[in-house]
């Protein structure tokens, strides 16, 4: 039968692939990320930032005196293929496996790394699962938990903008969105005299959220702030419809809507607030961030499209520091050094890891206010209390 022959040929061909020999003076870092499929748009920017950091380290003399060598395997935005990509980079000798920006798509490769006893880092996953609960004790994430974004916006609006009535509008499409609203829910009881004016849900690809808007409009008083837990692409449509209906409340968001590339679709958007780890708009309080943005543009040919570029840089930064401190790439030692990090300064905000949490349940966020369609950093906020891990895991 012809197909058995095809498979036989394939099997033989795969046997002929030899594992490339690993040079003794190199540390291999494996990127098991999406180079095609819909995750590519989210993985590539963070991956480019990670490669910039690797380049910086190599130019400064390398890690433990050795050059870092990046190797790549495409997950094709497919879970089964992701596991194979993880195996592929591990077979090339990777000491660190970097996986996709999303827990569901990064976990298969991360699980392979975990079984092989290697450290894995999620490029920018913001779910509590991207770490110990969802993979294992050697897994970390380079970004900040989605819940922190919701909690940050609620506390900032309460303290700085005197918002007292909040409306919670959740896009039930992804776990990320639910994470933002979980953080919001946790923060609300901590804000005295604040009240939840109402709550509703919609789905990202709904052609119209008219009924949800009707509910908001029929409240006796317009809420001070609407906590909008959503992400691209449906966020644009929702925001358009909210403003078109004449609702003037503050709109509070997660970082998922960061970026100016979509602002054309909602002309003269105002009273719109987004938390970011650092500013892509050139007005970050830290001049080194603006320098990085320029370097990013030189290397990739375009400005950073959103703040999700930055966690890629941060993860290489903290991992390299841990390796330097542990003086080895041995997994247990590196993990121990990472877990010692408390408010470790990085270019894009402090990072803290511990034995119980390999993610950030508190973070310094810059608040970007969009007025008349122009985004601008107006403030900076860190939530007053860390969000408890048990609360997040149980959600």
């Amino acid at each position: 039968m012809r197909f058995t022959r095809i498979l036989g040929v394939l099997a033989a061909a795969s046997a002929l692939w030899s594992t490339p020999t690993r040079a003794a003076d190199e540390i291999v870092v494996g990127f098991a990320t999406a180079a095609s499929g819909f995750m590519q748009a989210y993985d590539k920017p963070a991956q480019d930032a990670a490669l910039i950091r690797i380049d910086e380290i190599n130019k400064a003399g390398g890690l433990l005196g050795k050059k870092i060598k990046p190797v790549f395997a495409d997950t094709k935005t497919d879970q089964a293929e992701g596991a194979k990509a993880g195996l592929a980079v591990l077979d090339q000798g990777a000491e660190l496996v970097i996986v996709s920006c999303d827990y569901d798509f990064g976990a298969p490769a991360a699980l392979q790394a975990q079984s092989a006893g290697k450290v894995s880092f999620f490029l920018c996953a913001e779910s509590i699962k991207a770490g110990i609960p969802g993979v294992g004790p050697y897994s970390f994430s380079g970004s900040v938990l989605a819940a922190v974004q919701g909690a940050t916006m609620a506390e900032w609006a309460y303290k700085k903008k005197n918002a007292r009535s909040f409306y919670r509008l959740l896009d039930s499409w992804t776990v990320y969105n639910k994470g933002i609203c979980d953080g919001f829910d946790w923060m609300m009881p901590h804000l005295k005299d604040s009240a939840l004016a109402g709550s509703d849900t919609f789905k990202n690809d709904d052609a119209s959220i008219a009924s949800q808007i009707t509910r908001i409009k029929s409240l006796p008083k317009e809420p001070d702030a609407i906590m909008l837990c959503t992400m691209m692409p449906g966020a644009v449509s929702a925001i358009k419809q909210i403003r078109a209906a004449g609702i003037k409340s503050m709109i509070l968001n997660g970082s998922g809507v960061d970026g100016s590339y979509w602002l054309n679709a909602v002309p003269d958007l105002s009273n719109f607030y987004v938390p970011v780890q650092a500013s892509i708009y050139g007005d970050d309080p830290n001049p080194k961030v603006t320098e990085f943005n320029k370097k990013y543009k030189d290397v990739t040919g375009g400005d950073p499209s959103s703040q999700y570029v930055y966690p890629g840089y941060v993860l290489i930064d903290v991992w390299a520091k841990a390796v330097e401190r542990a003086k080895t790439t041995d997994t247990e030692a590196v993990v121990a050094e990472l877990e010692k990090m408390n408010n470790e300064a990085t270019l894009f905000g402090p990072r803290t890891f511990s034995k119980d949490l390999h993610h950030q349940n508190q973070g310094r966020y810059l608040i970007v206010d969009t007025e008349q369609g122009k985004p601008k950093v107006v403030d900076q906020w860190t939530i007053s209390e860390k969000i408890p891990v048990d609360y997040l895991v149980s959600k």
Partner: protein, 357 residues
Amino acid sequence: MLQRPSVIWQTIATPVMLMVALLAIAALSYQFGSRAFNRTVVEMFINIMVVVGLYVFVGNSGLLSFGHISFMCLGAYMTAWLTIPPVMKSITLKGLPTWLLHTKLSMWVATPISGVFAALFALVVGRVIMRLSGIAASIATFGLLGVVNNVYSNWDSVTGGQGSIVGTPATMNVWNGWLGAAVAIAIAYLYSISRSGLALRAARDEAVAASASGIDIVRERLVAFVVSAFIIGLAGALYAHFLSIVNPGSFYLRTTFITLSMLVVGGMYSLSGAVAGVVVISALIEVFRDLEKGVSLGGLTIALPNGVQEIAIGIITIVILMYLPTGLTRNREFSWRGWPLQRHLAQPVQTALKELN
């Protein structure tokens, strides 16, 4: 009176050949393949189980079903509930009943239970849906897929919602995979030579005449629905063990259409077609993925641009169907040329009166 050879003796060449061919693939892969290649082969075996399950219903009844992947979802989640260590379950899946939270079974026990769970669900739902015919039935199964997907994506306390639940032991290898595929093929074969299978095929070809001959079409369809759900439930369970994480998104439209494509490309009305379709399409996908990774010829690496694999598979599917509209096997079954008194499993009859829906 001359003893006529039994149906089994006449037709057993087909499933035996299929199982042997798959065993050869498993052995070759185990011996020579890289770890990643072995995973590809396991995935192929699981797809074979799904498509064979689809064949049991679609091939025998002639009704296209878009909802069977919901059984895969049910099977996968049931296995996850039964095999994830209780410590992990208690944190994330608080809505589960206590006895389920404390259970931890091995893959060998949990998998048949998941299959039975899917089959029971199919029994309940099928009693309602199987009365429909033609495209109405197909849309109803589509509705079933939508309902199951929506419920599993949002019932956070029991299914973990859209987030993946992790912890199913990764116990799959090519031999387990082959065993699963062999079991699926065996069940499908036994069903198709059974009285119920024959009756359903008669109804498929000529519903009015079959009904006039005393066949209870609804009942036979229900039997096929339940058997196919069992097989696909088993496949779902093995898939959970393969990936170690389960997520409702993997059991929705994309998987539905890919498995249906594999069935139609292979030959909708034959068991060999189901297996052949999966093997050929899996091989083609693998070839294109390797081409995307790059082939070194001498010092040069030639690689297709990323993303070409999916486009190529779409185009190739169309081309195959253009020239072979009844599929690769043309609805015939494989058999061994030298097999004594061989008889093919019946092909669909070309009827004079075409059903108007």
